[in-house]
């Protein structure tokens, strides 16, 4: 019988002893440790010691000489999967960049290394250089290099921020833009609208304030624009013959198309319901945050790679999903979340379209220039970015007064704080701790909204304090236009009624987290249609994942 294979995670004293025990018992052991060397000496915690015998050392010689033990140091698990009672592991073993069989322990490298970093082996006591030995008793040298700085690791598409910011500091703007475009097809647009999680992670915040990473990205894309440079979006010479269909020309679909074109796919067709590209970037983000001209240019650049967009084409109506699937070798669905959710209060259905208009429709129709002239007052209900956008759009359209109603306080508002401030600055009236009760009307159109005041109670599942209505505090605000902006959902009417896709209870596609493939082979999905309403850069990450998944799928067929 073949001996049992055991993976021991953690190469401390405990892990080393476990490895020796298991190997003794006849198993094949692999011991995995994040640090570049195995176990260090420890002071016992179960018995009193004598000064002469204070530290217990793991028997590393015994581990090394045991042929049943494989040592994986400086390694980490990338993926673990249970498969038929066994465990499949994908492990990254980092290079230590030092050939320890040649090293003479002269320490010359340590003397010259200019890097001064936290000494992880000594619990942050003092500093060490990037080249060092972790465990002085084993003296194994290694060069420590992080795979990514924290900003890059936080960025959903892992933009090489350090490089592009560094290039700007050197005055090499176009080179910087090229670094950005290597992973991000829409630098000008994302440089304007991204809520920049990278800045939230930036280490500089512990000194003063984070680097303005997002606006620097915008800056280099503006430089190219102002100099009138038309970049070439190149595709490789070697082409693949397969046809890929993409549903939705939003950030996810465009990113997927961009990456596929760069991989060498020449037959990429995008089907878009709207007459314009960009998805929510066009019909959700208002012009004053992202000029359409700029977005159009970035989309045109992607199209110049041989990507074809069919506008005004709704899947499930103009073309059936099954036809689409027949005509293409692989599909990517990036249909987004373009359905505004309802408040579910009396009067909402009655006056829908007669003064009540959900935020998705409101922003879209405004962006497409199809809204009637603003008249009277506007109430927006909700605390997310779509609510703030709707209110700021309304204010620009010329409504007499614009209100935002939110049932908690400013602190709990999910919108970006700088957007809330801007809305307040522009004169939008924010009413906190107020919830809608009923939409009132005169039988023909909405005339206002009955609200109730709220108080904050105990924290709920989201960690935010739950608003509780104050009895008898109802009041009425008169308004001709009421925009519910509480959340958005997916619209799966593109799928046939008898489809067999795995759909989550939130109405989103369930996908393989590594490839982006849905439960139907050859059909991939990404962006808001998978995650629910989320930020553009994560939709782009979903599109990129889908592109790689499709490539892997088509190449292994």
């Amino acid at each position: 019988m073949e001996s049992k294979k055991i993976l021991i995670i953690g190469g401390g004293l405990e892990g080393v002893n476990a490895a020796l025990d298991r190997a003794q018992a006849g198993a094949k052991v692999t011991i995995l440790e994040k640090f570049p060397t195995l176990g260090a000496e420890r002071i016992p915690r179960d018995r009193l010691i004598t000064p002469e015998d204070a530290f217990v050392n793991p028997d590393l010689e015994k581990v090394r000489s045991n042929s049943s033990i494989d040592i994986l140091t400086y390694s980490e698990i990338k993926r673990l999967r249970k498969d038929n009672g066994r465990v499949k592991a994908k492990i990254l073993k980092r290079s230590i960049r030092v050939d320890n069989s040649k090293c003479t322990d002269c320490k010359a490298c340590i003397r010259v290394c200019p890097v001064n970093m936290f000494d992880d082996f000594n619990e942050g006591f003092g500093f060490r250089t990037a080249v060092d030995y972790c465990n002085p008793t084993t003296g194994e040298y290694n060069i420590f290099k992080e795979d990514m700085p924290v900003c890059q690791r936080t960025c959903p598409v892992n933009l090489d921020i350090r490089s592009y910011v560094g290039l700007i500091a050197d005055g090499k703007y176009l080179e910087s833009l090229a670094v950005i475009r290597d992973r991000l097809p829409l630098p000008g647009s994302i440089g304007r609208v991204c809520p920049h999680p990278c800045e939230t992670a930036c280490n500089r915040q512990y000194l003063d304030k984070p680097i303005s990473i997002c606006f620097l990205k915008r800056f280099v894309s503006d430089v190219e624009l102002s100099k009138g440079i038309e970049p070439a979006y190149e595709t490789p010479e070697r082409k693949f013959p397969e046809k890929v269909g993409i549903v939705g020309a939003g950030p996810a679909g465009l990113a997927c198309a961009y990456d596929l074109a760069r991989l060498g796919y020449k037959d990429i067709e995008i089907f878009e319901t709207l007459p314009v590209p960009g998805g929510y970037l066009w019909v959700g983000i208002p012009e004053y945050r992202l000029p359409k001209k700029l977005l159009q240019r970035e989309v045109d650049l992607i199209c110049s790679m041989g990507v074809n967009i069919h506008y005004n084409t709704r899947i499930g109506k103009d073309i059936s999903f099954d036809d689409l699937k027949k005509n293409f070798d692989a599909l990517f669905v990036g249909a987004g979340c373009h359905r505004g959710l309802k408040l579910a209060v009396p009067g909402e259905d009655e006056y829908m379209g007669k003064g009540v208009i959900d935020c998705v429709t409101f922003l879209r129709e405004q962006a497409l220039g199809r809204l009637p002239k603003a008249k009277g007052k506007l109430i927006v209900i909700g605390g997310g970015n779509a609510a703030i956008d709707s209110a700021r759009v309304g204010w620009r359209m010329g409504f007499d007064e614009v209100y935002i109603l939110y049932r908690r306080t400013k602190k709990e508002m999910p919108a970006n704080p700088w957007e809330i401030d801007a809305a307040e600055h522009e004169g939008v009236k924010l009413q906190y701790l107020a919830a809608p009760v009923e939409i009132t009307g005169d039988g023909k159109k909405a005339t206002g909204m009955k609200c109730i005041k709220m108080e904050l109670g105990e924290p709920d599942a989201s960690g935010r304090r739950r608003p509780v209505p104050k009895e008898g505090s109802e009041y009425v605000i008169e308004a001709e236009t009421i925009v519910p902006a509480i959340s958005q959902g997916t619209d799966l009417s593109l799928l046939p009624r008898d489809h067999t896709f795995k759909i989550s209870r939130h109405g989103t596609f369930e996908i393989d987290p590594y490839t982006g493939e849905t439960s139907i082979p050859g059909v991939f999905a990404g962006g808001d249609v998978v995650s629910g309403p989320d930020i553009a850069i994560r939709a782009i990450a979903g599109g990129k994942k889908g592109a790689l998944g499709i490539h892997e799928y088509l190449r292994s067929r």
Partner: protein, 260 residues
């Protein structure tokens, strides 16, 4: 000044301009009734200055100074990372060398005062192969401390935690007193029954170690020399002990099971 994030230290160089650039905007009156872009973008000067604020967080810079210096040519930047696909019948998780511990109460001064350290750091300090070659020095000023307090960081961590941390505290005291017989150590922690019964008799024979059965309510820095006041409550009244350095007994974080 050195600042810290997630147990990492970062050293700011003072040749970088410090102010974060603000995005210029058009005025509110310019926005009314139109959809002109609000944010107007950085000028070239602003952008370059802002980009220079980046600390370029990284470890190895790839400067290759070590490679140039290495006589036996042992340094090789071309050794690649490897991705291994392996199969196992069983996965065992152990603590590894990543000594993470439960969050410490802010009042104990860890992170605020340089001479408040953890038991894990003290363990390294006591090691002959550690950063100080086994010499006990205060990280505040490099002086040899005359009086040290070892204090409990998680008094509510349960009896098992109290027992193992107390034993570690006593063991570290044994070693520290052996290195420096002049040293005075107070160990402040609620005791547990098992420690009291099994280990107290031997502990009481140690010269230089005093055990105080109490929780610490706070650690404060009292003077420019960094003398620490360890505040305790004993029999309903507060007491203070003055020490040169404090060591906090930490509770290791439970080992996380891997995600499948």
């Amino acid at each position: 000044m050195i600042y810290e994030k997630e147990r990492r230290y970062i050293i700011p160089f003072f040749d970088v301009p410090a102010e974060r650039a603000e995005m210029p905007e058009i005025t509110v009156s310019e926005r009314k009734g139109n959809f002109t872009e609000v944010e107007t973008g950085f000028t070239e000067d602003t952008a370059v200055t802002e980009a220079k604020r980046c600390l370029s967080c990284r470890r190895c810079l790839g400067c290759a100074l070590c490679w140039a210096e290495c006589k036996p040519e042992a340094i090789d930047f071309s050794i690649p990372d490897q991705i291994l696909d392996l199969e196992f019948d069983e996965v065992v998780t152990t603590a590894g060398q990543d000594n993470t511990f439960e969050k410490l109460p802010r009042e104990l001064g860890y992170g605020s005062f340089a001479n408040v350290i953890t038991d894990l750091q003290f363990e390294r300090m006591l090691s002959p192969t550690g950063p100080t070659d086994g010499v006990i020095v205060s990280p505040l000023d490099g002086e040899i401390p005359g009086r040290i307090a070892i204090i409990q960081g998680n008094p509510g961590g349960g009896d098992d935690h109290l027992l193992s941390s107390l034993i570690l505290g006593v063991n570290e005291s044994i070693l520290a007193l052996h290195r420096n017989p002049e040293l005075e150590i107070i160990l402040v922690s609620p005791l547990c029954r098992e420690f009291h019964d099994k280990f107290m008799p031997q502990t009481e024979t140690l010269k230089g170690l005093k055990i105080i059965d109490s929780a610490v309510s706070g650690v404060e820095s009292r003077d420019a020399a960094g003398t620490l006041a360890i505040k305790t409550r004993q029999e309903d009244r507060t007491a203070e002990e003055a020490v040169d350095m404090a060591v906090i007994l930490t509770k290791p974080k439970a080992v996380a099971e891997p995600k499948y």
